[in-house]
Symmetry: C2
Subunit: 226 residues, 2 copies
């Protein structure tokens, strides 16, 4: 039996580590993709390497795409501070067109690999402020993927953009990952993590994560700066 | 009166030089975007610089996005030869998800600039083999753009993906550009151009271009290797 391949976007955070475990559990031969986009928190990429290795992926690629010349986000422009608490609406940590870009790179690679399934950790519960984490975005990208590519147009198959965490809360995600054996101590979620991957404990992403562990009744393995 | 900004994808080729002239003629303040994606024909980027400067753009950005690790195209993988003549179907010079990626980058920049208009040189007449040069692809991307972004979601405006060459033949494109004062000697179309920008004269792209000048009744300014 042919094992189906999948491309999985792996950021080094908790969500994508869970998605990778889910894709692996479904029997896909997983090709992990991470993007070095000039993010502040580059310890994410180290975390992505650890997560991909622990999951036993077929391959892990880190592509260089420096978004700093475009800017417009606290994550890529050092003149915009990452706030302690987000205000209403779309947060300053929103990176313009980021998921569109990452999915486009995943799509290009999937086409070369002959993979039809692309997994990402988009989540509309905790990231309702991010337009490119919503189900309508994912559906529109899937539509585009099948028009944009040789593979899609030739009709040998159909690309599927899979966002299995879309409607899950953080605690639910953590419980699902624990059942699949995810080691969350390998992951980094903090927007302001230091080079060694130690978390600030106070940014939005840290607080969301800590609350998730608490609600899931799981000991928080995060390494915090004191 | 506020001058509207536009992001224009400029490859250094004949088509995008024409599109840039059209956008400028429409009164847009143009921000040119080129992508250094590891293409064989890097003299394209030199041509893009000349074209953008000649058009008097507000700004010209060249982003680095090395697609060679993904491969899958004769333009990014040196183990795949650029053929003299294309066979039927989608040519080996097709780069997986290229226009999706380029439009995503243009979209991210447009959002930061506050621009709603993105121009590209997609053309379904001469490039019918490329799935991402068709009107349905452009429409799907426009749909996505307005779901994927803060600007689109907040409803302050609507992104428009403009592909004014979509239904024009090469001679028609050249005539339109000549009327707008485009200097085609600045452009490079050859898939196998050398570092100085000299064209092979025999690849698909060269032949299409040469035929365009002949049909338009315009002297071909291309520099050919002899």
């Amino acid at each position: 039996m042919m094992v189906e391949r999948a491309v999985v976007l792996v950021s080094g955070g908790l969500d994508s580590a869970t998605v990778l475990a889910m894709a692996t559990a479904k029997g896909f031969r997983c090709h992990a993709l991470s993007i070095d986009y000039g993010q502040r928190h580059c310890s994410e990429l180290e975390a992505a390497r650890r997560v991909a290795a622990a999951a036993g992926v077929a391959e892990h690629k880190i592509l260089q795409l420096d978004l700093r010349p475009i800017g417009g986000s606290a994550l890529t422009d050092r003149s915009i501070a990452v706030p302690e608490h987000s205000s209403d609406g779309i947060p300053v940590t929103y990176v313009p067109a980021r998921n569109t870009l990452f999915l486009s790179l995943a799509l290009g690679w999937a086409e070369v690999l002959g993979a039809w399934d692309i997994f990402l950790g988009a989540n509309a519960v905790d990231y309702s402020g991010y337009p490119d984490c919503r189900p309508e975005f994912v559906r529109a990208f899937e539509e585009l993927a099948n028009l944009a590519t040789r593979a899609g147009v030739e009709g040998r198959g159909r690309f599927r953009i899979r966002a299995p965490l879309m409607h899950m809360g953080k605690a639910e995600i953590i419980r699902a990952g624990m059942e699949l054996g995810v080691d969350y101590s390998l992951t980094v979620s903090c927007y302001r993590a230091d080079e060694a991957g130690y978390a600030c404990g106070t940014c939005d992403s840290c607080r969301l994560r800590a609350r998730g562990f608490a609600e899931a009744g799981v000991a928080d393995p995060t390494l915090y700066r004191c």
